[in-house]
Structure formats: C-alpha cells, structure tokens
C-alpha cells in the first residue's frame, strides 16, 4: 500500500480520538457485547493536547553559509589547535597560536572570538559535545592567562557534528580532535 502523506494527521487524529478509550476495559466474558466507540469529528481535528490532530508543519532553517572566519582583516591565519586522543589540554606546540590570537585581540579591542571545540566520531553525540566543550574551554583559559577577558571569548562545542575530514579511521579522527578560532568584528 502506498503511504499517503495526509494519513499522518488522520492517523494521529484517530489515535487522539481513541486515546481516551484506552483505559477502558473491553467487554469481557462470554457475552457478545460490543462497546460503542465514537470518534467524533470534533476530537479528530482539534488536536489540542496531543498536538497530533493537525498536519505537522515543516519548519525550515536556511542557516548561514559563512562560518564567520576571515571576516576580520589582519587576523592571524593559524586558527586551529589539535588535541591528542582523550586529551583536553593545549599542547606546547600550539602556544604560538594562542599567543598570536591574544596579541591580535589586544590590538583590536572590538574583535571577539568564538572557540569551537570538536571531537572525533566515536561515542555518544551528546557526550562528545561535552568533550568538545572541554577543548574549547582549554583554549579559552589559555587566552585568559594571556589577559583576554571572558567577555571577548565564547567557547562552544560542535562535538562530532562538524568533522573537518570524514572517514572512519585515525587519519580523520586526528584532524577532528581540534578547536577552531573564529574571529568576529563586533
């Protein structure tokens, strides 16, 4: 049978209409009793508390194609900090990136940065979101040590949702365990 789009609201509506009957006991025993079950058109379309009585409406986000990077003239080009497996500290080799970021922010008081933390794809999406946040926070704290105030930095996480590289082995995973620095002109 071909699925029919409009069936959703009908199906949902009748479920709503019938839902109130769910707790009633069906006619029992040897009798040939038939319970009357009305599904009034009113209850089939008002949809209120179940929210399923009307057609579900599609919402749409058009998103924002720019990633915000490169918008600030003169900003340092090194904007990525990579992390080891299960590690959430900024390695010494990236101290130069942090220093350059801090220096630029000090020279441009109206510029702020978003630090976007990322993880590889293994494990729970929500738990990875919290791990990406740890990476972003590590960079935020490193900038804080260099005198950049919290009001100029927002650390957020993309978890495993925005991989730089999409495959399923360590060569990709290493690229995806990172924090990106995104400059924003205020």
């Amino acid at each position: 049978m071909k699925p029919i789009h409009a069936n959703l609201l009908l199906a949902a509506a009748v479920m709503l209409a019938l839902a109130g009957c769910a707790s009633k006991k069906p006619a029992a025993g040897d009798g040939a009793a038939i319970e009357e079950r009305g599904a009034s058109s009113g209850s089939a379309t008002d949809g209120k508390s179940s929210g399923a009585g009307k057609d579900d409406v599609v919402s749409r986000s058009l998103g924002d194609d720019g990633d915000g990077s490169g918008d600030v003239a003169g900003a340092p080009s090194a904007r990525q900090i990579f992390f080891d497996l299960d590690q959430y500290t900024v390695k010494p080799e990236y101290q130069g990136v942090v220093q350059a970021t801090a220096d630029f922010l000090k020279s441009k008081p109206k510029v702020r940065v978003i630090i976007q933390g990322n993880t590889d794809e293994r494990g729970s999406r929500e738990y990875n979101l919290s791990l990406g946040q740890k990476r972003a926070e590590a960079v935020r704290k490193a900038l804080g040590v260099l005198g950049i105030g919290e009001d100029r930095i927002e650390s957020v996480s993309f978890g495993e949702e925005k991989p730089m590289s999409e495959c399923h082995d360590e060569s990709c995973w290493a690229k995806n365990r990172r924090a990106d620095i995104v400059y924003q002109a205020r």
Partner: protein, 434 residues
Amino acid sequence: MLTTLRRLALLAGFLLLLLLPGLFVSAHAEALNVEIVGAGANQIPVAIAPLASEPLLPESVTAVINADLARSGLFRLIDASAISPRPAELAQLNIAEWRGQGADAMLIGRVNAAANGKWEIQVRLVDLAGNRQLLGQSFVVEPRQLRATAHRIADLIFERLTGIPGVFGTRIAYITRLGKRFELMVADADGYNPRAVFTSTEPIISPRWSPDGGRIAYVSFERKKPVVVVQTLNTGDRRVVADFKGSNSAPAWSPDGQRLAVVLTRDGSSQIHLMPVAGGEPQRLMKTTPANDTEPAFSPDGRLLYFTSDRGGGPQIYRMPVAGGNAERLTFEGDYNVSPRPSPDGKSIVFVQRYAGRFRIVTQDLGNRQVLPVTDGPVDESPSYAPNGQLVLFSRMQGGRGELAAASVDGRVRQRLTLPSGDAREPAWGPAGQ
C-alpha cells in the same frame, strides 16, 4: 487458562512489535530495507478473517492488522482470506474448522455504513479453544481514520493475547542526513507517513518527545552553536528555549511536561540545569561539581535524573534526586558507559557500553544491578525504549553510514533498517496514546 496465553508464556522474550516495513525518509524518498534477524520459535497462531462488507471500505483494515501482527514476530498468521461467508458473530463462526487449521484465536467482524459518511467497524476476538469472545468493540470513524483504527485494533489484539500493550499506534522521531541537509523526521511506528518536521543545513541532534507527544525538543546548530529548540508538531511553531553563552544541549522532559532538564556550559563545564518549558531562568542542579555532566533523563515518576558524568574519570552513569542530594554511581563495568534512558516501569535503564572496543546497547536491572547485552555493536548508539518497555530502538553504523534498528529487550529478535542513501540516526520512540 487460555491456550493462547499459555503459549505466550513461552514467548516471553520475543517481543518485536514494531515496525517499519518501509521507513520512508521523506515524502519522496526511498524506503528503508528491513531485515529481521531471529524470530519467535513459538508464535501464537492467529487468524484474521476479512470483515463482512469490508470491500466497501476505501482501504482494508484487516490487511493493516495482519501486517502489524506479522511484523511483531510474535504471531503466526493463519490465512483466512477466503473464508465464506464472512462471520460477524461468534454464532456464525465454525470454530472446529479454524481450530483444525491450527488457530488459537481469530478476529471476526463487520463493516457498516454509519451516518455522515463514517464507517462503523465492529470486531470480535474469539478464543477458539475456550469458545468465547475475548474482545468485542465497535469504532465509528471517518474514512481517513481507518488506518489508525486498524493499528488500534492490532494493539488491542496484542494486549489481549500477550497481556502487554501494543505499540502499533505510536510514532517515532529520528534525524536523517543527506550531504549538508539535516531533517528531523516523524513517522508512524510502522514506517508510514514519514514527515520532515524540521529541515536545516546545520546539524540536528537529540530529539526528545514531550510526554503528550505533541512537541519535540531537540538540539539545533542553526545559530552556529548548539541551542535547544522546542517545536510544536501541529503548528510547526519553533521556540529556542536555551541559547545561553556557550553550548546548550541534551534536553529531557519531566514526566509532567512542565520542565526541561538541559545541559548548559555558561559556567565553563557541562552542567545539568532545570528550566520551565515555557521559558525562564535555568537552575543549576549541582553546585559543586566541576566535572562534565550530560545526557539527563527523568525517571518515570519524575523524582530522579539519570545522567552521564566524567566525575570519576571516564564517562559513567549516575542518578540523583531532582530535588537535590547526592549522586549515586550506577555503572562500574568498563570505562565508557553513556546515554542512559530509564524503562517505562522505572525498573531498568538502557544505555551504551563500550565493551572490548565495541559500542553496544545494554540494559541494567536497577534492583539487582545486573547488566545484560541487547546488541553486540560495533557502533550502536542512542537507545530508547518503546512505550511498552519491550523493545529498544537505536542507531548503528554499517559501512560508514548510520541506520536505525530495533531489538527486543532480551536481544533475541532484531530488525535493521537501511537507507539507500544518506543516513539515519538519533531515533526516539514517541509516547503511547498520542
């Protein structure tokens, strides 16, 4: 004791009521392929007789009932399509003949034209061994309600013969991704009527049904960071309920539908907060911990929150009173236990465990604390219970793509659902009685 019920006792593990003969990804997209692994060795033999005057209907009700019961894996359908004349009353049924065909129970009934273009569907479920009616009901419905009425009847049959409520009439939500296109999908539990209710060029994760089934909370990256959105299904109305500094994620509904638990990072680490669904200032649940706490889920009685925390090093599952108090660690096996969801009866949790390098779905009995595997991985995620607690819906990686699957809680019967292209992930089973 009924023959059917006695047989049923043998089947206690074989509950596969779902699902999804063809889970369509969007209104125009291709069907998922369904592969069933395992089946009940002892299925209840049932005959579904076509209803008297059923050809008058625009679509067959008994065909849907047959399909629901067959897919469950719990029933053996005895073909009664050629029965003539079609019995509508117990007295008209040749019980000996159908017992001879091996049926334990049989559905009979009739269709009558009712006022205002509606139809009356009368059904009776007969215990052939006991020569008695188990169920007799009449539904007066509009033509467009026939399919849902069929699911309702299948649920009643299921409950009558197994003692467990059916889930044929429920819905599921999940996320699909094709390239840069992400869609929040809602479909009937049998895979029909799939609808994209939100489409975005940015990722969507963590859909969670409101207890009444009317709204879905989820995490959207549409603001270049994760924010928590509550969307009302029948209007399409979307409200960003959590967009605080940092990341906002992991929504969970309180059972009364009044509050959300969400994870915010405005204090630095990931922390569980409670907030009114209508909006308002979130209250941090735990003041002292600097660890990461996430993936909250309310117990069915609303008193406890289950969650994942790395306070002990790696991620483990804990619970604590919503009103405040000490967190109790629940998982000790292995170094990676995440994504807890309590069962509808509150007696177990289902979660993801990394075991020998594989991510598998397991359950833990909250009484004796025993952990039992539902799946063996290697990359299984996002488990959620069916409203009757007998099945677990989850996602798995296969050939680098995500697909949905369902398993009986004992893991003996499994269905996997593969998309021809793109992938499906983050499934959530909707509530009963929508």
